[in-house]
Amino acid sequence: MADESMYQEIILDHYRQPHHKGLREPYDVEVHHVNPTCGDEVTLRVAVAGGVVTDVSYDGQGCSISQASTSVMTDLVIGKPVQDALRTSEVFLELMQSRGTIEPDEAVLEDGIAFAGVSKYPARVKCALLGWMAWKDATAQAVAGSSEGAAHV
């Protein structure tokens, strides 16, 4: 099949064996994001402590791109300071909006570079961003609410 350019082996690996999947405790914020045009959905939990993303867990259903991208995202943000993780998400967003014109930086995006080909398919970009957007939403809420100390354990 000729579509290897989009379905990189890295993506297929993450799709078949996703990292950090399954909802875990403790967490600070849980969000549920859907893609209304295709029905893909993700429930995602974030735990933040001392300005560091201590855990991201998730469950959901969707295509290989959305599931693999969420798996890669957890590898890239768990254990990172929130500010560093947000910068990484901006780099990934820029790559996905590039329509294939950006050469991705493996030092920053690690397995995320496999999604460079997806950026050439505008209809699928939203799939690749579903988990990232859920994480950003949950993290922003967690940071905003951290002074209230309302963790779920």
Binding site: A2, Y7, T37, C38, G39, D40, G62, C63, S64, I65
Partner: protein
């Protein structure tokens, strides 16, 4: 196929294909296999030529002026109405309202009912009911949900059986003396199911409910006679039946259309306008406020002529052969499940299916690499996906220009997809 083709001649699909320029293009270096017709159809040269000739030779605004072009444009626009009326078996062209699409037609009826004065034949309130089915396209569901929200009426729906049919067990309860409107799809865009209009109309008549039939997926594929169907309203959309986008049709019984309140206000739909208030034109002008979709209406008429020259019965028979071949082929593939009726009995040409272990978006993307265009997603019928426990489906839908060879390309493509995804 050119004008004058004999209705009795064998169906020559290759002659039909020659009328559609886009069918000769390639996608990704392979011949295009277009099986997304339930979403939108392609346009034959005859339709494109008719629209172009009208715009180049006769175009002007309609119902507006005394100059020659205005009269010619008005004549063409009204002739298009006559053609569509005849296409639907309507007794009176005044029963044909041009809209921008099917969605606008459902909203027109729903908002008109919502605008009716309390106590009129069309008004709804708490205690009244609207009944739809669980297999409606969102366009024939959400407007009724909104109407019920505005008026306090109750929405009910006919559920589905496991094999993709309406479950009519409780029809007499669901459609009852409180029901003001029964709105249902003639042929489902996602399941392919063809619904028993006679049974549903008979029940509606027993209780005095109005009936609206969504014909977006039936009118392009089979001969429709609105008199025989017996409903009060019938809706179609042009772009699914070889016409351009931007043109839809609401057919309604004249005595109803003439009595219903307007939906959109503006020019053309009025009788007498004073600062203190206005009176309204009779149908169809009452429901065609503003400059209408003129050249698209002319093109729709050309599409009706084209379909009738080939013969809708012959088109339906051709599609039934293709659908039968798709269903048989899918049934031989392990790990593939049809969502909807698995035979051609009371069925249209849209076939939805699921492949175990592969998400529809990945199926659609992989098939596109093979030049095959199918639709993936919930097809604007999300409750149907929920009912059958799938997030989305892959849908192949054929039309008059598809071939058995294309069906085989699809079936081979599905096997290739399964191999690629190792399922």
């Amino acid at each position: 196929m050119t004008a004058g083709a004999l209705l009795t001649a064998p169906y020559d699909v290759h002659a039909v294909r020659a009328d559609f320029p886009i069918l000769s293009r390639q996608v990704g270096g392979r011949p295009l296999v277009y099986l997304d017709n339930a979403s939108s159809s392609h346009k034959p040269t005859q339709v494109l030529d008719a629209e172009r000739a009208f715009v180049e030779q006769h175009y002007s605004n309609v119902h507006r002026g005394v100059h020659t072009l205005s009269q010619e444009a008005t004549d063409a626009y009204e002739a298009a109405r006559d053609t569509v009326a005849a296409f639907l078996g309507a007794v009176d062209p005044h029963e044909v309202v041009f809209t921008k699409n099917a969605t606008e037609a459902y909203n027109l009826v729903a908002y008109s009912f919502g605008n009716a004065a309390a106590g009129s034949a069309f008004s709804l309130g708490p205690g009244d009911e609207v009944c739809v089915t669980e297999m409606e396209h969102h366009s024939n569901l959400v407007p009724w949900q909104m109407l019920c929200e505005r008026t306090g009426a109750t929405l009910r729906w006919i559920p589905l059986t496991d094999d993709g049919r309406l479950d009519l067990t409780d029809l007499d309860t669901l459609v009852n003396e409180r029901t003001k409107m029964l709105a249902f799809v003639h042929v489902s865009n996602i399941l392919g199911t063809k619904n028993p209009v006679d049974v549903l109309v008979a029940r509606a008549r027993q209780v005095g409910a109005y009936v609206l039939v969504d014909g977006a997926q039936s009118a392009p594929h089979e001969a429709v006679d609105v008199q025989a169907l017996g409903a009060d309203f019938f809706v179609l959309t042009g772009h699914k039946m070889l016409a351009p986008s931007g043109i839809g049709v609401l057919w309604g019984r004249r005595e109803l259309l003439d009595a219903m309140p307007p939906f959109l206000g503006g020019g053309s739909m009025i009788e007498v306008v004073q600062m203190s208030g206005s009176t309204y034109a009779p149908a169809p002008e009452r429901f065609e406020a503003g400059t209408p979709v003129i050249s698209q209406a002319v093109a729709l008429a050309a599409a009706c002529d084209y379909l009738q020259e080939i013969g809708l019965d012959r088109i339906a028979a051709h599609e039934a052969q293709l659908t039968s071949r798709i269903l048989a082929g899918l049934s031989e593939l392990s790990g593939v499940r049809v969502i909807g009726p698995d035979s051609t009995e009371m069925r249209g040409a849209a076939v939805s299916f699921a492949i175990d272990g592969v998400h529809p978006h990945d199926i659609g993307q992989s098939l596109d690499e093979l030049g095959i265009a199918v639709r993936v997603g919930h097809h604007c019928a999300a409750p149907v996906c929920r009912r059958y426990g799938v997030p989305a489906t892959t849908r192949a839908s054929s039309y008059l220009y598809n071939t058995e060879a294309e069906v085989d390309v699809l079936l081979e493509g599905i096997a290739t997809v399964q191999a690629f995804w190792r399922v």
